[in-house]
Amino acid sequence: MTPTLEDLRPLSLDLALLLGAFAVLTVDLFLPHGRKRALGWLTLALLLGVFTASFFVDVSGPAFAGTYLGGPWALMWKRIALCAGALTTLASLDHVDRHFPTRQGEFYLLLLFCLTGMTILPGVRDIIPLIISFELMGIPLSVLAAYAKTEDKDGVHKHAPEAGLKLYLVSAVSTAITLFGLSLVYGMSGATKLDAIAHAQLSPLLSVGMLMTLAGLAFKIGAVPFHMWIPDTYQGAPTPVVAFLSVAPKASGFAALSAILLIAFRANQAPLASVLVLSIVASLLVGNLMALPQNDVKRMLGYSGIAQVGYMLIGLYTGTSYGVGMLLFYLTGYLVSNLGVFFVLEVVAPRRFGVDVSELDGLVRRAPWLGLALLMFLLSLAGIPFAVGFWAKFFIFMAAYRAGQTWLVLFGATMAIVSLFYYLRVARAAFMQPPATNETLQIRPALAAAIIVCLLGVVGMGLYPAPFLERAAAAAQAFLEGQG
């Protein structure tokens, strides 16, 4: 079957993104120093354009002989990725301009490459493009994490290389493991198409392959025991990057995991289920307990992210369309809440990459609305009503209960209470402590806009989640029914 131009239609958005990336690269060459800031706006315009286009362009249907399958599922993920990208760009504008004025082009280029990987991945139905797009997402992140080099003029970023190296090394190892696992899977099933793999006979070697594949992917989302890079990297990397880092690989990882687990391995899940449960319990425990004693907010958020992954894995674990849909919704909610928190941190401590809790002291006195926004984000992360996080947790629990895992509901709910302790610790600093300085906070308009968008997302979806919820459920159903 020869590829035709028609095969590119489902991928038109991703291609646009890729072309946009090259456009940014080209423009960068012609922009004089001091004017590079425009690149950020260009990227933002590009992302928003593609996002808008996603509502008008029909990108459904198979492409390249079923290697790619466009549909509600892929579209939903694309939009999540584009939102994350747009928000990150908006929040990075000032940061990048201030810290890396000469290297702005590369920053946005890497971001766009990463996003391209993210948007392509969910529709992919073959392990070769799957791993390619996954790495397309992954490799630029390592660079971004180490983007603040030692010679930065503020001279305070010596942790950045460490953060980047840790992310990179563990990432590389996990890629190698995944590759090895996928090679076994291919060998045992004789195919690379996910649907075809599903028909393979279960053999020990296939099991080993599946397990290694999963282990590699689990690293990206940061599920225990593949989580250890997360807190270190979060603490050391530039805040806007961390914000992106906290959602992008998770989104891709879950998209990939869903594809592998629920399509390729759907017939042979049995040995994996117990492994998954172990990982869920461990993630919830380790993430929440180790977040408790942290004094660095970013580090704490890293651990809390590990716990959040535990909840998301519950949705995946149920394997039902309902559960996967709720995972999608959870991720959406997590995205706005988590980005929001990091953006607030960026406002509070724009020069440092580690943010001690005490730096938030009296935030609500210094900037009342910022404090309120922070509170909403934290409550959302903790799963408190009228913030989107509550619905997310609630629906995950619903899915778990429906799948007969009552104990997981109880356990998850209990752990949510533990999480409240450290989230409230941050809120406590912001609301109950006297301000450390009387210095007024400079909130750049771009960053403020990003925070407002996040806040609107958290509150809006918290008050009226129905449309998002129903889309997520529909997407998941389409995915599991093989319609992409």
Partner: protein, 522 residues
């Protein structure tokens, strides 16, 4: 406009404080009077609405009235549906009274009034919502909204009081700032949310057991859940909601929380919020899971009896004024739970009426305690004495509240306690009435002893030079609550008739089978 208001009265009652909160947030910090007036206006709107609901409730028709329904998540059957029954009518009124009194009592609050009133109003919106929600999920949402602002309200505006480290866990005290306001706020939030977690599990379980189509309370109440589910789910609901109602041993947030909380917050929390817990146990737990309720009723009643006596005795041993009142709340909420556990008409009437009566009484108490603390700058009773000289009205109101709490006829507390004891005697466990009655006497001992030490005798000593009687808006709160106590104590039918209607409607679904079973057993 009038028609609109009439048709959406319940929404307006719930929304008024929330809107007021928003307005307060938008007002500049310097406009203190405007902030206060906005808060007061929100509270008064709700109060007026509550009175209107009470006035227009059709007792002949009974049942749920003023139904409003808006789809929230249609695919899962979550509706924002509001309606009011006989219980709701009375508890709405209570909430309206307490929030109005609360706003008056802290009208002159100086420290960050803007955020304070905003949070207070949000909290109250949640409380109103719980009492009218007819969708269990929305019920839960409002419940959480009512509970959470407490964290900041206590943590920011609270007061400190040290607790000495003793006992086998003394080493932990050194790690925690026990008695501090942040400790109290955190403890309260975490303990109550553990309860919420349990509730959530049961809500999900019930939803699916009822077909997974609707969270509607009536729908769930008409569903006969499998016995096995009822037996494990009921205790979860009981302890989950019970943690807010101060059920032993999950009451320990209450003394610290109430002691640390600022005046209006204590008033609302002890006055209304703790009722949410008890209301949840009855309205959700007992009515949706009748078999579970019957099976566990001996436990509920037994623990409630412990609550009554244990709370009263603990209160007796306290030296800190706020702790006394807090423990007395634990004791009185035991009366509510006891009434609920009796599964008799009188018991349930009494339970709901006790919520109502105790709400106003404890509201009055905390208003007074706040006032005393504000002038004396100490909460330690042994240091006080002879305060009646400088604050005779405060003394009088305090004794009045005390008399209501010990169940003096003519004040609201008596009606409630008497009904509960009557219900207890009619129940399958007649002996419950005895500790209940004894508890009322122990209350007399500690409440009056406290008032004697604080107000009577010689004094006050020189260190208390700022003592003066209530003034300004404080009068409104004190008089309002006192007159309510007397009014509802001498003419209880004003409220009790409504409660009775709802009880008569609901109880047979829960308890009649119990009687039949008892007959069979014989």
């Amino acid at each position: 406009m009038g028609n609109f208001a009439h048709a959406h009265l319940l929404s307006i009652i719930v929304a008024a404080p929330a809107v007021a909160a928003l307005v307060v947030l938008l007002l500049p910090e310097s406009e203190r009077l405007a902030i206060r007036m906005a808060a007061l206006f929100g509270a008064l709107c709700s109060l007026a609405g509550s009175i209107e609901v009470l006035r227009t409730y059709d007792t002949a028709q009974a049942g749920l009235q003023r139904m409003e329904r808006y789809a929230l998540v249609p695919s899962m059957g979550i509706d924002l549906s509001l309606a009011v029954d006989g219980w709701g009518v009375s508890l709405l009124l209570l909430t309206g009274i307490i929030i109005t009194a609360g706003v008056f009592a802290s009208f002159t609050l100086e420290e960050r009034p803007k955020e304070f009133f905003a949070l207070l109003l949000v909290l109250v919106a949640g409380v109103f919502g719980v009492f009218v929600a007819q969708d269990i999920f929305v019920f839960f949402l409002f419940y959480e909204v009512a509970v959470l602002p407490m964290y900041l309200l206590i943590g920011v505006w609270g007061s400190h009081g040290k607790v000495e480290a003793h006992g086998p866990f003394a080493f932990i005290w050194k790690r925690f700032d026990v008695g501090g306001r942040e400790y109290a706020a955190m403890k309260l939030t975490l303990m109550l949310l553990v309860g919420s977690a349990a509730i959530l599990v049961v809500i999900i379980a019930m939803y699916f057991a009822a077909g997974g189509t609707s969270f509607d309370l009536t729908h769930l109440a008409n569903t006969k859940f499998p016995r096995e589910l009822q037996l494990w789910a009921f205790p979860l609901l009981w302890l989950g909601f019970g943690s807010l109602a101060g059920v032993f041993p999950f009451h320990t947030w209450s003394p610290d929380g109430h002691a640390a909380a600022p005046t209006a917050v204590s008033m609302l929390h002890a006055g209304v919020l703790m009722k949410l817990g008890a209301f949840g146990v009855i309205r959700i737990g007992m009515m949706l899971l009748p078999e579970g309720a019957r099976y566990w009723a001996p436990w509920v009643g037994g623990i409630a009896v412990i609550n009554v006596l244990y709370g009263a005795l603990s209160a007796m041993s306290q030296k800190d004024l706020k702790y006394i009142i807090a423990y007395s709340s634990v004791s009185h909420m035991g009366v509510v739970m006891l009434g609920a556990a009796t599964l008799t008409v009188d018991g349930w009437n009494g339970a709901i009426y006790q919520m109502f009566a105790h709400g106003m009484m404890t509201g009055l108490f905390f208003a007074l305690v706040g006032l005393i603390y504000g002038r004396a700058h100490t909460r330690l009773i042994p240091r006080m004495g002879g305060f009646a000289k400088d604050m005779p009205w405060v003394a009088g109101f305090f004794v009045l509240a005390g008399l209501s709490s010990l169940g003096l006829p003519g004040l609201a507390g008596f009606v409630a306690e008497f009904l509960v004891f009557m219900g207890a005697w009619q129940s399958a466990h007649s002996w419950w009435a005895i500790p209940g009655i004894v508890g009322a006497w122990v209350t007399a001992v500690y409440v009056l002893n406290a008032s004697r030490t604080i107000f009577f005798g010689t004094g006050p000593s020189d260190e208390f030079h700022e003592l003066r009687d209530a003034h300004g808006t404080e009068w409104v709160a004190l008089w309002g609550l006192s007159l309510c106590l007397m009014l509802f104590g001498s003419y209880p039918r004003l409220i009790l008739d409504f409660i009775h209607i709802a009880t008569n409607e609901y109880l047979p679904k829960v308890a009649l089978v119990a009687d039949q079973l008892a007959v069979l057993a014989r």
